[in-house]
Amino acid sequence: MPNVREWLNSLKQKFAPKEGQPPVPKRVRDYIGGSQIWRSFLRHGLPKTDRIRALVVLSNVLLHLHPVKIRRSGVKLRYTWCMGGLTFFLFLVETVTGLLLMFYYRPTLEYAYVDIVELREQVPLGVMRELHRWGAHAMVITVWLHMFRVFMTGSYKPPREFNWNVGVVLLVLTLLLSFTGYLLPWDQLAIWAITVGTNMARATPLLGHEGPGSQLLALGDVKLIHAGSDARFALLGGRFVGAGALLRFYVLHCVGIPLVAATLMAIHFWRVRKDGGISGPL
């Protein structure tokens, strides 16, 4: 391998300490930082000056959500509790772990439970299901604490009324995400928790077959709302928690609700900026 050796030698010569030159780490840094690859990724040097600190945030798609400068109270944990950020982080954790779990899981009566058992017994060092489940519990808690903080600092007041509303919808979506995921392991806990939860839909006014006013929705003697056509049936895709419910909850859990939630999150974050950044006393 003469070529590799030659190249290594040339590198050695290049970085050999010489009189009047900066130390090696700095020169390595300059070499990498000056390369075409690096400069195509990041169009600025290290954030040593205020100008580059601004550029870091402005020219990076992942960071541009932030303003370049921010009120000092906005970075204080004492003020923000970091709960909104943690909720978003947990959403990302749920997305990644959920995606990996989808490799092993089939939402049918035949396979659902067996797949979880297999996952448990066959996959070495598996903590994805644990991360997903505990992360989901944690996300419900952080989203409540986030709402609690926003209330206690009066941050829902003008001009942030609309964003508070987006947040309320996101809170409900978080609960629905957790609720739909609850069914998927298809064990006794899952099926009966969902049975108890969805039994309420039977009693929906007008739209549930045991709800007040549902008798009014009838054409002559023909009832429009019965156990095979009411709100609970629409939710479960059947008269009880079975194959239809499992598939519906799976699709809503993995695709439907996350899509809506991600869209609303984008609006939520964008709106924080447009409403003048994180709240603070005027």
């Binding site: 600190r53 370049v68 058992v117 604490l145 809170l171 957790s178 609720f179 309420m200 005027l282």
Partner: protein, 358 residues
């Protein structure tokens, strides 16, 4: 020891526990001296000691350490901590403002910092800490998996996911169309309406109690006393057949609780007038209907004229109407709970013909 356990079991029965929590809530909210570092530390130590000591009781340990109940215990600590933390800052700011100084956040607002590194590094550290906590939690506690699902074998008790246990607990006092549909919808609508009803311009962007005492008291009453307390009751104190069990009580599936609840119509027609129930539902339930109508239609104008005069004038008719109906709906829950506990009242209006029971 058994005496202490029996005492705690007795104190945690719904009527007594709820009353204690309400009294404690309103007294504590207005007591400035409680919201200090010292009292917070003492309270934390007391609760931790209570949990550690109680762990020696097998019944307590069994319920509290169920894997899916661990996050609820964590939530109780977190919500307790942050309630104390926010009120501490609120009262400190109130003290500052009473001295003519701006709130503590104001000093920090005037100064701006670079997003890089101040914010980005804070986020990175938070992300790392959260990842570590979550990983350790995931490694230590395995996600539970019960027997395969069976539609024919119902576990006793069958419980909804823990964050809906407040609603399930509400089923003790209200029918599903209220506890499961109307009240949850009102909670969501109420939260959404909040910024449009609350016209108080003060307290925007900093912790304060004095400037928004009413709003904070109402919100925390709904969040802490009703929502979180009911979840705690539903998780830890409700066993087989949804019967009440004290924290140190064995969950006996054969526990018998007499059901002797009676409807408002029976109070009126049978006990008071002594005529027996009329056959026709409207005649039978007319008093209950009048009571409920009076609660939602006559009470708001009366309140506006008498006690909430200034609020009514400040808010305007539309805001007042929406706000007062939401608040009355919220207070309807504790009212119904006390009616149940004191008079064994089942329904104020009972029209099972139309599934319409209140």
């Amino acid at each position: 020891m058994q005496f202490v356990k029996d005492l705690f079991n007795f104190l945690s029965s719904p009527a007594i526990f709820f009353t204690l929590v309400i009294v404690l809530f309103f007294v504590a909210l207005r007591t400035r001296r409680l919201w200090t570092d010292r009292v917070g530390t003492v309270a934390l130590v007391a609760v931790v000691v209570y949990f550690v000591v109680s762990f020696f009781d097998p019944n307590f340990k069994k319920v509290v350490t169920a894997p899916d109940n661990v996050p609820i215990v964590g939530m109780l600590f977190l919500i307790g901590f942050f309630a104390w933390f926010s009120l501490k800052q609120a009262y400190e700011n109130d003290d500052r403002m009473a001295r003519g100084e701006p709130p503590a956040e104001k000093l920090e607002t005037d100064e701006k910092v670079w997003c890089w590194p101040d914010l980005v590094y804070t986020e990175l550290i938070a992300l790392l800490v959260a990842s570590i906590v979550l990983l350790v939690w995931a490694i230590l506690i395995e996600a539970p998996l019960e027997e395969p699902a069976s539609i024919t074998v119902a576990p006793n008790p069958s419980k909804a996911p823990w964050y809906f246990l407040g609603l399930q607990e509400m089923l003790v006092y209200f029918d599903p169309w209220l506890a499961g549909v109307v009240f949850p919808s009102l909670i969501i609508l109420g939260l959404m309406a909040l910024p449009y009803i609350d016209t108080n311009p003060k307290g925007n962007g900093y912790y304060t109690f004095r400037e928004r005492a009413r709003e904070i008291a109402l919100f925390l009453f709904g969040f802490l006393v009703l929502w979180v307390f009911m979840i705690m009751t539903g998780t830890f104190l409700r066993g087989p057949n949804w019967n009440f069990f004290g924290p140190y009580e064995y969950w006996d599936p054969h526990k018998l609780v007499p059901l002797n609840n009676i409807n408002f119509s029976e109070f009126i027609w049978v006990r008071w007038l002594g005529t027996g129930l009329p056959q026709q539902w409207l005649a039978r339930e007319i008093f209950g209907i009048l009571v409920v109508l009076a609660y939602f239609l006559a009470l708001p104008p009366l309140l506006a004229r008498r006690w909430l005069n200034d609020i009514h004038r400040k808010m305007g008719a539309a805001r007042y109407a929406v706000g007062i109906v939401l608040i009355l709906s919220m207070i309807a829950l504790p009212i119904k709970m006390y009616l149940r506990w004191i008079f064994n009242l089942k329904y104020i209006i009972a029209i099972p013909e139309f599934f319409f029971n209140i």
